[in-house]
């Protein structure tokens, strides 16, 4: 069986589904037998999920307006990029 340390070092690839099938099976076996690592794995997965779902990438209207104004000034100043 893998040690907990080995499991942890593969956790990122495991969560990203980047491991080989063989390693994946070993990791899966480890978490069925090690409640500690199961919790770490489950909560790390949820950590990624909550961030994926939450932070929107809409830009405030005033920030957008000032950006466009700055770019227009730039284009007027120097015309074509180099």
């Amino acid at each position: 069986m893998l040690t907990c340390k080995q499991f942890l070092s593969e956790l990122t690839d495991y969560l990203d589904e980047k491991t080989s099938t063989e390693l994946r099976e070993k990791l899966q076996r480890h978490i069925t037998e090690c409640p500690n690592c199961w919790v770490v794995c489950d909560t790390t997965k949820k950590t990624i999920q909550v961030y994926k779902g939450m932070q929107s990438c809409s830009i405030p209207e005033d920030v957008h307006a000032r950006l466009m104004a700055a770019v227009e000034r730039k284009i007027a100043d120097c015309g074509k990029p180099k």
């Binding site: 340390k5 942890l8 070092s9 956790l11 990122t12 690839d13 969560l15 990203d16 980047k18 409640p35 500690n36 919790v39 770490v40 489950d42 909560t43 790390t44 949820k46 950590t47 990624i48 909550v50 961030y51 994926k52 779902g53 939450m54 932070q55 929107s56 990438c57 809409s58 830009i59 920030v63 957008h64 000032r66 950006l67 466009m68 700055a70 770019v71 227009e72 730039k74 284009i75 120097c78 015309g79 074509k80 990029p81 180099k82």
Partner: protein
């Protein structure tokens, strides 16, 4: 005249991207505006996450697009425009941080340990749906505070990889880091965030339950 090799855009880059860039390079402001519309939100969010300051983030956003416009001729076309501009934005954002904390060098290459001492402190199970305990606003506050508690290197890698959805390889390219370096930073970042969030999301009544 020898034929110039036409750059081939990465398979998952929007198909009109090279076209927009070459039009912008020829002085077409409308084409550049389209590129801005496409990426400004993600760049702003990234800048917010790295600088943790709205004013700085806005500066970074403007500087990134202005620099991109100035140096459009350096865009090779064999990576995505977004990966290219992210690199500019990250450099600007780190410069802001350095200016603010002038006594400390902040770099993505900051020596970090390789995981030997990687300790998971809190091993408490979470609610199946931890986010349902909080309002959207509260959740945003909790998540932002947790990210802000990370070192800049970890914040940056986590935001690009897990919030913005870049691949490990793209993150490495954008930050000029090796793939293993991105992976080790990502693992650190994920585990540290997990530790920080456990306080809010752990299953009620689990405090006395020891796994070890």
């Amino acid at each position: 005249m020898p034929a110039e090799a036409t750059p081939v855009a990465p398979a998952d880059a929007p198909s009109d991207e090279l076209d927009l860039v070459s039009r912008a390079r020829a002085g077409d402001g409308a084409a550049f505006s389209l590129l801005i519309d496409r990426y400004e939100g993600r760049i702003f969010r990234l800048a917010m996450n790295i600088t943790q300051n709205r004013e700085d983030a806005e500066d970074v956003l403007q500087e990134a697009f202005l620099k991109a416009y100035e140096h459009l001729d350096q865009f090779q076309g064999n990576s995505k425009f977004y990966t290219w501009i992210v690199r500019i934005a990250v450099n600007q954002a780190l410069m802001k941080l350095r200016k603010r904390k002038s006594d400390r060098t902040i770099s993505l290459d900051e020596q970090i340990d390789t995981g030997e001492d990687m300790v998971v402190r809190e091993v408490a199970a979470w609610d199946p749906d931890p986010e349902e305990r909080y309002s959207r606003e509260e959740m945003n506050g909790i998540l932002t505070e947790a990210i802000d508690g990370l070192l800049p290197i970890y914040r940056t890698v986590f935001t690009l990889r897990d919030v913005d959805g870049l691949s490990t390889e793209e993150t490495a390219e954008a930050l000029d880091l090796s793939v293993p370096a991105v992976k080790s930073r990502l693992l650190r970042a994920r585990l540290q965030l997990r530790d920080k969030l456990t306080r809010f999301f752990k299953r009620k009544g689990d405090d006395a339950f020891a796994y070890m």
